[in-house]
Symmetry: D2
Subunit: 422 residues, 4 copies
């Protein structure tokens, strides 16, 4: 491990939480170079909805490489890209009656977000964009301006311009309708909040602490966008790709965003990012937003394979089923450890267990020692974040949740010992 | 091809210049789905310095996939990442006596640039950054502010802040020393150009029209940075990785940048981006700049293989040799077609043939019909840009240059015909 | 009047509402060049709290001019300036136990606001500043960023940076405590609202529609500033100088702002503006914020005279008394014209009568024809704004309020006529 | 003096350079409270082109006050304002065939500049504005962004946006045509300098160190503005009002600016500021840029009197005459003190004597002790700035220049003494 400490920037993060050298992985299991097994409740921060190295994906990649299929294609037409577009249209867009055009952006979520923000501004000729408290949209300067967490900011960046932050669903308490609040600002020409080009929102805030927007709230948000002629951008980078039980996270609310950003699992584990947009918004000049790796053909190959999980409803059904199981188990755990003031929230297969400050991080560390990889989220890392592969076997799920229980038990014991001076 | 027109955003570009569906590729040759062969003088805009699907790289990728090596690793430690770090240290940094720390950023060049700009600002606690005329550093908002070309900008973006543009070497004519000019601005506390955190520069401007900064200019720039306590960021995304005849493009000038951005060919054809920084600048908090795909392990595998080309001096020698050949041949071509007012410039294996407005684009189109892929650059696409793989066989090089000659001949003929009314 | 139309910019405003050429004025009466008398319920938008051409002020100005007292002094020491400083200290600051230092800024309110914002940012080294919905702080770029009304803005200005707007007292309805709301944003490090250098607020919003912040709200705001180490700037430009019944408008709440901006009536009718600041905040370098007319000695002379109204409590008592009278009369008027949906609000001698959209402007026009000058405010000019001189005679007050009643009566009649088709 | 130190902000400046309490003044002489006389070579930083308390102005002000003429008028029509407009049209605009419309802004130069910048941006719908090295346009945020001197800036202000600085005439040396330089940036769509709405420039830079733009340079600048459809804003706040020998400073170059800012002496010693604009640019909505003191009627009265100096050519002739005298005398002084490396430059009655760093400030201090008030300018206060009233008597001019000579002599002696150890 020494070379990482010597050579890699201090910015490195997960290597500190999970200090071992990983070697191979399959499905929901990773193995380090000593052969130690880890169950994966993290899923590459949402990249691995279909697990590590799914045989179908791996097979397709090897075949592509063996036949010298184009690997790097910029935005030239290739067979792999065509196959992806066809599969995406036939499997995802057409059955949902969605007629988005597709823009391949640089293969990072933040690039898709920047693209959406630029396009919205250009089309509407308004520079303002509204984002929400606890939203996370990326760390390049355009996206950073829409990301709430101060940890990522510095006075020297000069990032505070042309975005306004409004309270997300629940931010002011369960009883306050924050869309009404937002509406007051938009209705009042003297509120200081200028009419925005777009509102960007996650339907479930992952980094923000697993905050689930209510269906009613999302519907009212869409309605408000229509009334005021504001574009609605759904950032589905973390909670799209089936994470919430439908391919797009906004399907549950029956809304029709003007733009959708996709990344993470869309590439089947490989770097890829997309912007979907209503055709009339596609007002780009050729080459006006570009990027070298927007034609990562290995990702197209993997992505095309991964989309076949959406040929039928099996995966969606499984997510709902497993989601309920996670919820029940988490609720039981919560009941068992009232001393940590636990709160369970989530949807589909993204769940959070909020606890007393500090506990989530300690639990993650305890769990790692017991062979489970799980991360935290929220402004103060106060939420243990359950983000397993959608394909995880129920045994592994059960085993992993058992490790959580054991870890909390160990923590509780430690605290008791401290109290009693042992 | 119809699905690209129907589904892909109007922003698509190269697919318009090279309208066919590519299938496989090897070295410096691509084949479309009809089996038509194309010689590649474009090299994926600089990603394919080692050619398409180099057997060593392909083999390593297949092996990694076959053994279920971790593919997506965030910034966790993996065997593949460790191997890359070791190889990069031993092959690149150590022999050059460079002691940079390495930051893996999101796998796009623009992300590496944003990272450099953020870090420079944070470390120096100054928000201003100086960039140069005709510089290209990317299209996310932070990098865009340092990119000169107005084509990429829109009033609605609000991108004009905290960067100042200074004249690149030669911008004011051969006789004007633009560093003297810059010095005047920095020396005068009332010039309006506040002391910047950093100066960001390409040693050869690729997108800007193949403008080669003189060694003396680069030395003076470094000297000026030292005098005024300004960080020097070399953006080596396009012209690093051996393109100019040395691994880093700045080696020819003997300068020591404070930060270096690398991307494109560093990943051996797969998406990857790095920021190198002097250790004392590594003042990040863990996780302060992050990104999902900064641990693209397939790219680490490919990159490690690709770096073995630098185990000895063979590649460097070859680049110099082939570069001279290109220069000679281009000069001959220039002499043959004075009517296009041709100017040849370049270094190593990046060359530009500037011609009367419009001619470069037409030549590219003619060449494509004859089986050659070549792009243009410059603010008005006035420069034909020669960017072949560094490993290209001399026969293919000769064949490609022949196609250029034929294309120009055809253009000249067409123009003659128009003049004479035929 | 033609020369105004021919030569003066289209930006001219009040000359359109009150289309006559004024000549002389005394106390609360103006006379146009035809000798037509107008009662003044506008008081020069708050400059004329002591009425037009108060004999004491006029006498002092003439004496100063006759003895060739310095008129323009930049920030050199002069006898007139010294006299003002002494009078201000002895009459205003000392009796209130306030130990502010005084900065003479350029003689416009917006300049005092810009000065406060710059100083707050510099001292705290934070660029963010929080302002409130419907706040008005001026129209130069720094102050404009803190002014809510979109009417004053344009996309091309690029003014949207480093301010965040929060709901003023009552903005979300009477029942919502907007300080609690603001606190949530500040408490949550991921809210997107970065810790500001300062909060700038009017205790009564004049331009915003005569919105009176509750004492409790102001106290909680001060408390919040203390907790989070945020500077509290009271913009007392319009409602300071006794307008609300005490010299400073914030006295009623017993709070202690860190900075106070004063302008309008402080100059006794002549251009003058001040920034008051706690001594420890006075971290300016000599000359760091400057302006040619910051030493308008005629204004010092007038100001010194005007301050003598504060030698005893008579004026304060009178304001309270007359304020109650206005409130009663307005309430009667409101009761008389329910069809206009009237709402009365105000404090001291600043009162608003909000009515159905359009009615306030029409009333102002009707009143002008009847010899009364009165303006509107609010984002949609929906509020008739009562801003007479603090020294107005009760007879004139009664007469003016009678004109309002007559004007509303005439409007009501017109509407009835329209309804019945007459 | 103690009260100034106790109560006035540290930002106070001139009171430090000229530490006495001034009382009365007449023409070019000031007297402090002890009766000590001072000759004025500073003229209120350009406000007092017609001297202190000119009898005509004083008489008119007293008459206005005695008859209770409106003093504060916002932008209502008044007799005094009408008289000013007529006088300005008949005396200044008509004889010069200028058809500007007039906007009365808040009575500070910076406000006039902000108004010009806002209007230019709005009309052209471009946010960028080009300013020049060593330019000074004011210290509110909009104007500050166009002011070169870093002394006035702070990282926390966030002022660096939407302006670009270009080299003023002579900035790169006498031989370099900086308009050619600017043209290169505008011609090259990839230069990073976006097409601006306007270029703002002083024809003689006062604060910047008495830099006189050549006529040819100004003509070429106008030509460039026409070619590129850029508005030309002349900031004539300091060097208008006859300072350079013509009423507007740009008359010598025969150019026709699109907008002109006027302040300082336009008010005859009282606070006033104007924006002149070509009629087709007058696209304001009523009230879109406003300010409380834009109707300072005392200033209108004084201004109208002051404009009568332009009824004939006498003043212009006198300025040229006295200017030549100053130049000759300064040149003699320069020849006398080569040890201070003196350089003389100027125009009309604004002259600078640049000397070795430190000498100008010491000379100013020595002169003050000898009864002369004179200031410095330039980024490093390296220039002694001669700015007497245009009406100064030749005897006082000679006396003042004699004091300069004596002061330099004293300084030279001091230095000699130091060298020889006495």
């Amino acid at each position: 491990m020494r070379i990482f400490e010597e050579m890699e920037s201090e910015v490195r993060g997960y290597v500190r939480s999970f200090p071992t050298v990983f070697d191979v992985a399959k499905g929901s299991e990773l193995f380090d170079e000593n052969g130690t097994r880890y169950i994966d409740f993290f899923a590459g921060a949402g990249v691995l909805n279909y697990g590590h190295n799914h045989p179908m994906v791996t097979k397709a990649l090897i075949e592509h490489l063996e036949r010298d299929g184009i690997v790097h294609g910029l935005d030239k037409a290739t067979i792999a890209k065509r196959a992806f577009l066809q599969k995406f249209r036939d499997t995802i867009l057409a059955p949902r009656n969605l007629q988005y055009k597709v823009q391949f952006t640089g293969p990072t979520g933040t690039n898709a977000v920047e693209t959406a923000m630029k396009l919205a501004r250009m089309v509407k000729q308004r520079s303002n964009i509204i984002a929400f408290t606890n939203g996370y949209h990326g760390l390049t300067m355009g996206a950073l301006a829409a990301t709430g967490n101060y940890f990522y900011k510095d006075e020297s960046y000069g990032s505070r311009s042309n975005t306004a932050f409004m309270p997300y669903d629940g931010f002011l308490g369960e009883d306050v309708d924050t869309i009404d609040y937002l509406r007051k600002f938009l209705n009042d020409g003297s509120s200081g909040i200028d009419l925005p080009a777009a509102i960007i929102v996650e339907t479930v805030q992952g980094e923000g602490g697993i905050n689930v927007a209510r269906i009613e709230w999302l519907k009212k948000l869409e309605q408000l966008c229509r009334e005021f002629d504001i574009l609605l951008i759904i950032d589905d980078i973390q909670v799209g790709n089936g994470r919430t039980g439908t391919f797009f996270s906004f399907e549950r609310a029956g809304i029709h965003p003007d733009m959708v950003t996709l990344s993470k699992s869309i590439g089947g584990g490989l770097p890829m990012a997309l912007l979907l947009m209503r055709p009339e918004l596609d007002q780009w000049q050729p080459g006006e937003h570009t990027g070298t790796f927007r034609g990562n053909n290995l990702a197209f190959v993997a992505a095309t394979e991964a989309l076949s999980f959406w040929d039928n409803d099996d995966l969606a059904t499984a997510v709902v089923h497993k989601g309920k199981f996670i919820e029940q188990e988490l609720q039981k755990i919560a009941d068992e450890f009232p001393q940590f003031n636990p709160k369970v929230r989530g949807l589909g297969m993204i769940w959070g267990l909020e606890m007393t400050p500090g506990v989530a991080s300690e639990t993650s560390a305890e769990a790692f020692e017991r062979g489970l990889i799980i991360e935290t989220s929220g402004a103060d890392d106060q939420v243990l974040k359950f983000l397993p592969s959608l394909l995880i076997e129920e045994e592994l799920l059960t085993e992993g949740l058992g490790i959580i229980r054991d870890s909390l038990q160990a923590l509780a014991q430690k605290r008791d010992d401290m109290m009693t001076g042992r």
